[in-house]
């Protein structure tokens, strides 16, 4: 087993190194940040331009830049933002709490609603409930989140004033004070609901189809024939097995959510890492862009490795491959 775990972790590290090289190289192809910082109203002063390149470390060979970058990145030091002129890790850590709060709340909302709804739809196959559930799933997956978010903000926030329309409230950093908890929850509500909508729909569809397959299996029928209660059949025998693909999907989805969503952060004025990445790309802030993409890759690869290892734990056939 340990051999398997080490092999998967090694593969993850190699993937991450390859990703870092691709990201570093491709970001450098998008334009010259020293050139971007040159004032447009003034003559292009080659001396200033060269000095700016030197200040940014861009006068060194590409491979040297990459080597220095990767050596520092291992220790969560992604260099200094060209535009904001602050350490990237500091900028990311400042924005990360907002992203993590929103991602976790939206994700758990989706899990807690999506899984029971999916199971319920499968159990009540072709009933009104199932049809409504399928309708909800189609809507959740098809409706543009941007549009849904704006509609809810305008209606539930602007018109009915049930929820705040923007921001996180007074909380800064990871933890709210006791007094800030109700306000923090209130601010989380609307973005979490919108974020959860499409994830809930996907989880529900997945849970439903997996559950249908399980309910048709021989061992479930056998359990029913044995006279076990419906509750026991559904939860102990069927649902447990049906949830494996759902959790796999959930893991990857959570990794995506932890990378921040530019759309959500724009619409809800949510100060997360997504907007930081957008700023990095539009302003040719290489270190910022590289760090954001690398972290995103890190989250995905870690999740994939954890899922693979979990599969290996529960299924010996996977370990043997």
């Amino acid at each position: 087993m340990w051999q398997y775990v080490l092999r998967r972790m090694g593969e993850g590290i190699i993937t991450l190194i390859a990703l870092s090289f691709v990201v570093f190289g491709s970001v450098h192809l998008t334009g010259d940040p020293a050139d971007y910082l040159m004032p447009l109203t003034e003559a292009h002063d080659q001396k200033i331009y060269e000095a700016q390149k030197k200040q940014m470390g861009l006068d060194r060979p590409f491979i040297v830049q990459y080597w220095d970058y990767i050596n520092s990145a291992i220790f969560f030091d992604f260099g200094t933002s060209y535009v904001i002129q602050k350490p990237i890790s500091e900028l990311i850590l400042k924005k990360l709490p907002a992203t993590v709060h929103l991602a976790l709340s939206g994700f758990f909302l989706a899990i807690i609603i999506g899984i029971p709804l999916g199971i319920m739809s499968a159990v009540k196959r072709d009933s009104i409930f199932d049809k409504l559930g399928k309708g909800f799933a189609v809507f959740g997956l098809a409706a543009p989140q941007f549009w849904v978010a704006i509609m809810l903000i305008l209606f539930l926030g602007g018109k009915l004033q049930w929820f705040p329309t923007y921001g996180r409230g007074d909380i800064q950093g990871w933890w709210p004070t006791i007094e800030q908890i109700p306000q923090t929850l209130w601010h989380l509500a609307l973005p979490s609901i919108v974020l959860a909508l499409s994830v809930t729909a996907a989880i529900m569809r997945l849970a439903r189809s997996a559950m249908l397959e399980i309910l048709d299996s021989d061992y479930v029928k056998f359990a029913q024939v044995k006279g076990l209660s419906n509750r026991l059949v559904i939860w102990r025998h069927a649902a447990k097995n049906a949830l494996i693909p759902v959790l796999t999907f959930g893991g990857i989805t959570l990794a995506g959510l932890l990378n921040g969503s530019v759309i959500f952060e724009v619409v809800f004025a949510w100060p997360g890492v997504g907007l930081l990445l957008l700023d990095g790309v539009t302003q040719r802030d290489f270190p910022l862009t590289e760090a954001a993409i690398l972290l995103s890759g890190f989250f995905y690869i870690c999740t994939a490795v954890i899922i693979d290892i979990t599969y290996g734990l529960v299924d010996p056939r996977v370990r043997a491959r």
Binding site: E42, I48, Q55, H101, L154, G158, K159, Y166, A269, D279
Partner: protein, 596 residues
């Protein structure tokens, strides 16, 4: 099988409670200390003195309130709080708590303020300015204003020694030193509280560029001693991006509000400066003591979210746009205040200085203007959100404007005639580049409508490329788009000296529309210099000279711009009045905001 019974109401309620609990778990925990900063409190009020002779009094009825208001703005540059490290749009919040060296009444109307007198040498290169030290002007940390504060503020951008030292130490980007090459000398004197600034070029626009009406942060007044103390502490360190961190932790201005705390790029809280010096009693042109207790300014990119916040009462004043103005207007308790002449529309024939290019010929360049129904486009897309006057940066209140600078009339027949006389037919294809601009909405739609007009008038089909602003600018500046057209926005400004010079007489200016190193380009530049740029005059004479130059520029048509945008500010039910300045971009005149 009756498995459905297990999904009882009780079960559903349990699920709902679990959901709520999960959200709660995510949000709960201990406490975290804010990273925001706080400013020092200001001290004694300024002593009233005699009004400066040039001052023209403006009566403002004050209905002062201690209530705070929430202002939502559309965007920021989101750089550092210390002005030399900030970007142009950051003046949206910087000017709320900082003053500029030169005060204005908006537009080009300079009035005595931190600098109370300014005079230029006969050759237009040297300025002597008098700093106001006898009116009790104080920074928010209690330091009284001295001539040294103005000197340091100028030095950080214009002094070869200091600016270079800052850049070499890594305190700011090297590119920030681009302007030091124009400095001949920068000295105290000749009299007390005077500074003499000599440049190696004619610089009649110096006071405007360092004023409240300029479109960037270069004129903002730094607390000199505080700044130099920070620099002394940072000296000798290499690659030190935090030289001025202390300012960022304790931002000090001398403006109408004090910056109490902030989250960079997210929100900024200001408290009223009750001791603000710009008052009639202190001899200045009007009372600029704020009429609200404080401003909480937040950055909200999405207009619909700003609108919803206004509707819910979470915001009192929002930077609106034409799409949401009808909804604001529909609410009887809400109102719209217009900030006129905010941005200009700017149509550029890119790099049309090679003889074999279609746009080398003036007839072709003019044909497309005659062939565009610009008034119809402005009315269809913008209504009151834009005004159909002016030519590029010569907007209706700018230096040199007259109504004969307004765009060519729509005349498809004339367009076709000019097009044919340029030897062109409907087979010509070029690209029109544009982007989605926050300050000037609907640029892609403008491009679409213009393209439709050109199809009708001269028969051509153009390809419209809507892309990333930075990427398009980079291609344009690297001379990669010759013969194409760019439709873009830019900040309106009163004094167009810099932009005119850069566009027509500077071979190295990357956004030039004229190539002064070619015969045609040199002739064009010489003409503009002869008409306006070479004359060391002010007032009406300067206005007339620029008017003549702009008429020539309009006729040459290397660029054009038939209308400019006006920015609507949506106000909630608590706001009685707001008078944003015209011809000055970004958030202006916060002291005019009053509550009901």
């Amino acid at each position: 099988m009756k498995v459905s019974r297990i999904f009882s109401v009780k079960a559903l309620l349990t699920i709902a409670m679990l959901s709520a609990l999960t959200v709660g778990i995510v949000a709960c925990g201990g406490s975290d200390t804010s990273e925001s900063s706080s400013s020092a409190s200001s001290s004694a009020a300024a002593a009233p003195t005699a009004a400066p002779a040039a001052a023209a009094a403006t009566e403002t009825e004050s209905t002062s309130s201690d209530e705070r208001i929430t202002v939502l703005i559309a965007d920021l540059e989101e750089e550092r709080v210390f002005p030399p490290l900030a970007g142009g749009p950051d003046v949206k919040y910087l000017r709320v708590f900082m003053d500029d060296m030169f005060s204005t009444m908006g537009g080009g109307n300079l009035v005595p303020g931190i600098v109370n007198k300014w005079e230029v040498s006969e050759d237009g290169t040297t300025w002597i300015i008098d700093v106001t030290t006898d009116k009790g002007i104080k920074f928010h940390n209690g330091d009284p204003l001295t001539v040294n504060d103005v000197m340091v503020s100028l030095q950080q951008e214009r002094d070869p020694e200091l600016a270079t030292a800052w850049a070499e130490a890594g305190c700011m980007n090297v590119t920030e030193t681009a302007y030091i090459k124009y400095t001949k000398s920068l000295d105290f004197g000749p009299g007390d509280d005077q500074i003499t600034y000599a440049q190696n070029r004619v610089a009649l626009n110096f006071p405007f560029n360092f004023s409240q009406s300029s479109q960037d942060e270069k004129g903002l007044l730094l607390p000199g001693k505080f700044t130099m103390d920070m620099w002394d502490a940072a000296k000798g360190k290499e690659n030190n991006m935090d030289c001025f961190e202390e300012f960022e932790e304790n931002p000090v201005g001398s403006g109408p509000f004090k910056l109490a705390n902030y989250e960079l790029g997210i929100k900024y809280s200001f408290d009223r400066n009750d001791d603000y010096w710009f008052t009639k009693a202190n001899g200045f042109t009007e009372d600029r003591i704020p009429q609200v207790g404080g401003i909480d300014m937040e950055v909200i990119l999405e207009p619909s979210t700003r609108l919803a916040a206004l509707q819910s009462g979470e915001a009192d004043l929002i930077e609106a746009n034409m799409n949401i103005v009808p909804t604001i207007d529909a609410n009887d308790e809400h109102s719209v205040f217009w900030q006129e002449e905010n941005s200009m529309l700017w149509m550029i024939y890119i790099d049309c200085w090679e003889e074999d290019m279609w746009c080398f010929q003036k007839d072709a360049r003019q044909a497309l203007q005659y062939g565009t129904d610009t008034r119809a486009i402005q009315e269809a897309l913008y209504g009151k959100g834009a005004t159909h006057e002016g030519h590029g940066w010569a907007t209706s209140n700018a230096l040199g404007y007259s109504s004969d600078l307004d765009g060519f009339p729509y005349d498809p027949a004339k367009a076709a005639e000019l097009w044919a006389s340029a030897g062109l037919d409907d087979s010509l294809v070029f690209k029109v580049w544009t982007w989605e601009a926050g300050s000037f909405p609907f640029l892609p739609q403008v491009a679409e409508l213009m393209a439709a007009d050109w199809k009708k008038s001269v028969g051509i089909t153009v390809d419209i490329e809507i892309g990333d602003q930075a990427a398009i600018k980079q291609q344009w500046n690297n001379r990669s788009l010759p013969g194409d057209m760019l439709i873009r926005d830019n900040e309106a400004r009163y004094d167009g000296t810099s932009i005119t010079t850069g566009h027509y007489c500077n071979h190295d200016a990357r956004w030039r529309v004229n190539e002064p190193e070619t015969a045609d380009g040199a002739a064009r530049c010489d003409k503009i210099k002869e008409l306006a740029l070479n004359h060391v005059v002010t007032g009406q004479e300067q206005h007339d000279n620029f008017n003549a130059a702009y008429k020539f520029i309009k006729d040459e048509s290397m660029h054009w711009g038939p209308f400019y945008s006006n920015v609507p500010w949506g106000a909630g039910e608590r706001v009685a009045n707001y008078e944003p300045w015209k011809l000055v971009p970004y958030f202006t005149a916060p002291w005019t905001i009053s509550l009901k």
